[in-house]
């Protein structure tokens, strides 16, 4: 029907983003570029520029640094996964970091009061859901734009965190909470887990293909099928082997992957997730087919609240303390929104994936880490982060279908 004209670069980009693996490409390229620059280009440059240097020092790409990078990015990634869910709806949440701060502070106070760590964790997760859902109720039923509600939430929750932590800082020594970031999975278990995951993915893909054949549906080409499995396998094994080379896979990373897998599954493979995409793509359409758009909005904000609480627990566990600047008062919020957007989730709703948010968090984390290592100032870091974010949003805007480009 349509003329088969050669595609313009923008058109190519758009088509690339439509495919399943294609949506990973821009963020992976960004990650590769940053790693190449800080990991290889910069050390080589220093080596050749300095007569006294005896050997090249690949600090950035050392297993130790990569390990730290994963750990540093974990909190950002958890929040970014949550924020992705509301971005899919076409909404935004500015209060995620403040929610995480309140939850972490509450966790600290609870364990100090002698409540067992796991109970405290469950309580703050419930509190996080309530905080998110409360904002969702205002957005869906009162009809206030999410930007305004969550901006109010950001301010209010920052204040609330200061009320809970008058000193602005609290050490956490509860063994359960600390264990989340401290426990390392033995090397062999890490590898076993990775192998199991890859085998499971391959088996699922093959079974799906067989079912498709049985039902007479169009089949994926063998290249696509095995390409997906190989892609997945490379990422999993590279991550596990790198972390094993320094220490081992931390429990924190496994928990993060598990949480992301659950949220990813809910958003892509359940009627609820489908309704999130439908509302983000065309809310009127979702309403006409009988979806309860308001309830979906509230649920999505509840999910952000839950993930913010989990992010707060992860943060408290990793730092061993809760401080105002580490959560509500710092750059965590903008970094996690940035991570979601850099990952390729559209600010306009309906397009994106929680897995991309993890990669986006790695981009943000790598940038900060690399600039730190090369001795850049805080000012440079801010400016670089801004540039990367702008680039990501520009790619998003260019790759949107032309039809609904005006809004």
């Amino acid at each position: 029907m349509q003329p088969n004209s050669p595609f313009s670069p923008v058109e190519r980009l758009r088509r690339l983003r439509e495919t399943r693996l294609g949506s990973f490409v821009p963020v992976l390229l960004a990650l590769a570029a940053i790693w190449l620059y800080f990991g290889i280009a910069l050390p080589l440059w220093e080596f050749w520029g300095d007569q006294d240097a005896t050997s090249i020092r690949f600090i950035f790409l050392s297993p130790r640094n990569i390990y730290n990078l994963f750990m540093q990015s974990a909190v950002i990634a958890t929040l970014a996964v949550g924020i992705t869910v509301v971005l899919l709806l076409g909404e935004i949440d500015l209060s995620a970091a403040a929610t995480a701060g309140v939850c972490a502070a509450l966790l600290g106070v609870l364990v100090l009061a002698g409540i067992p760590g796991w109970t405290a964790c469950l309580i703050v997760m419930a509190v996080g859901v309530a905080m998110g859902a409360a904002q969702g109720l205002l957005i869906a039923y009162v009809g206030i734009p999410s930007f305004v509600v969550t901006l109010a939430g950001l301010l209010g929750y920052q204040g609330l965190m200061q009320k809970i932590l008058p000193t602005g800082n609290l050490n956490i020594s509860d063994p359960f909470v600390r264990a989340i970031a401290r426990i390392l999975v033995p090397d062999i278990w890490g590898l076993l887990l990775a192998t199991l995951l890859v085998v499971a993915i391959a088996a699922l893909a093959l079974r799906r293909q067989a079912e498709r054949k049985l039902r007479g549906l169009e089949l994926d080409t063998a290249t696509t099928l095995w390409g997906q499995v190989a892609f997945f396998a490379i990422i999993v094994f590279a991550a596990v082997l790198t972390m094993n080379a320094y220490r081992s896979v931390p429990l924190l990373i496994i928990l993060l992957t598990g949480v992301t897998a659950i949220v990813g599954w809910v958003t892509t493979s359940t009627p609820f997730g489908r309704s999130i995409f439908a509302v983000g793509g065309n809310a009127e359409s979702a309403r006409r087919v009988g979806m309860n758009v308001k309830r979906i909005r509230v649920a999505a904000f509840g999910i952000v609240g839950l993930l913010a609480a989990i992010g707060g627990i992860f943060g408290a566990s990793r730092y061993g303390s809760v401080s105002y600047t580490a959560f509500a008062g710092g750059s965590l919020l903008l970094e996690s929104i940035g991570a979601a957007v850099i990952g390729g989730t559209s600010l306009f709703g309906g397009r994106g994936s929680v897995w991309n948010a993890i990669l986006g968090a790695l981009v943000i984390g790598s940038l900060g880490n690399g600039l730190d290592l090369s001795g850049a100032s805080a000012a440079d870091k801010l400016m670089f982060s801004g540039a990367i974010l702008l680039l990501a949003v520009a790619i998003d805007a260019l790759s949107r279908p032309a039809g609904n480009g005006q809004r």
């Binding site: 169009e218 493979s269 489908r274 009988g290 979806m291």
Partner: protein
């Protein structure tokens, strides 16, 4: 009812699938519909024409349950029914395809066709329905069946994103979504308004397929050529009232335009 019956319209025609009588609707001081009668039978395309503001869209929305009429009677197969909301209309097998189509461009064809009624895999009863795994293969099978039934040949894959499809294909998918549910009356609002020649052709073919599969089709349009190609009868509204209902084969475009704009003095030739 078979194709032969399409020719027998007028007083001798088969009983209509959907009939309404004496529909009144006021919006504040505006008297939008003044006792309108309308009917459509299975296996028939009934065109609904009228100038802007004649009440076509209002009538259609009342039939779809999106608006409630102030007065008037509804009959399905000559049995009185009540239509007060879209759910009623859907339960009676009345579906409407709005001009804006309301498709989710970020989802693929299969997802759009089962939107709101996604099939889920069995065996996950411990989860609430909205959290059970989607049976996306079943979804694709259903979509393929719906597309095949309407013979949309240009559509290559039900896994294509709607955002990348042509206007005619989108219209066809919107129609397929409406027809997919238990549906006997399909109302199409200006389905070819924004389309080129080839795309229009495609949509008209889909409309003919609907008639051939024994649906009652209501077709709103301004385009006389499309109407004369596809419709069996034409119902003309003017200033919120019936002007006439004519058999398409017994009238001309000029006659219709005159009736639409200037009205009609005598009700001769009336096929309703």
């Amino acid at each position: 009812m078979s194709l032969e019956n399409n020719k027998q319209v007028g007083p001798a025609a088969p009983p209509p699938r959907l009939r309404v009588a004496g529909i009144e609707k006021r919006f504040g001081g505006v008297h939008a519909l003044k006792g309108v009668d309308f009917e459509v039978a299975r296996g028939e395309v009934m065109a609904l024409v009228g100038d802007n503001g004649a009440g076509k869209s209002t009538l259609m929305k009342i039939l779809a349950g999106a608006l409630t009429s102030d007065e008037g009677d509804f009959f399905i197969d000559e049995k009185p029914v009540a239509i007060s909301n879209p759910h009623d209309a859907g339960a009676l097998g009345i579906q409407i395809v709005y001009q804006d189509l309301a498709l989710c461009e970020n989802l693929d064809v299969a997802a759009n066709l089962s939107l709101g009624a996604e099939p889920v895999k069995s065996g996950w009863q411990f989860l609430p329905r909205i959290l059970r795994p989607l049976d996306d293969l079943e979804m694709e099978v259903r979509a393929q069946t719906a597309i095949d039934r309407l013979q949309v040949r240009t559509l290559k894959s039900v896994r294509a994103k709607v955002g990348g499809l042509s206007g005619g294909q989108r219209q066809a998918i919107a129609i397929a979504r409406a027809v997919g549910a238990e549906c006997s009356v399909v109302m199409l609002d200006e389905p070819t308004a924004a389309l080129g020649v080839a795309q229009t052709r495609q949509v008209l073919d889909v409309v003919k397929r609907l008639r051939d599969t024994d649906h009652a089709v209501v077709y709103i349009s301004h385009n006389m050529r499309d109407i004369f190609e596809v419709s069996d009868r034409i119902c003309i509204l003017r200033h919120g009232a019936n002007v006439a209902t004519w058999k398409t084969s017994e009238t001309t475009a000029d006659e219709i335009v005159v009736a639409m704009t200037a009205g009609l003095d005598n009700g001769a030739n009336n096929a309703a």
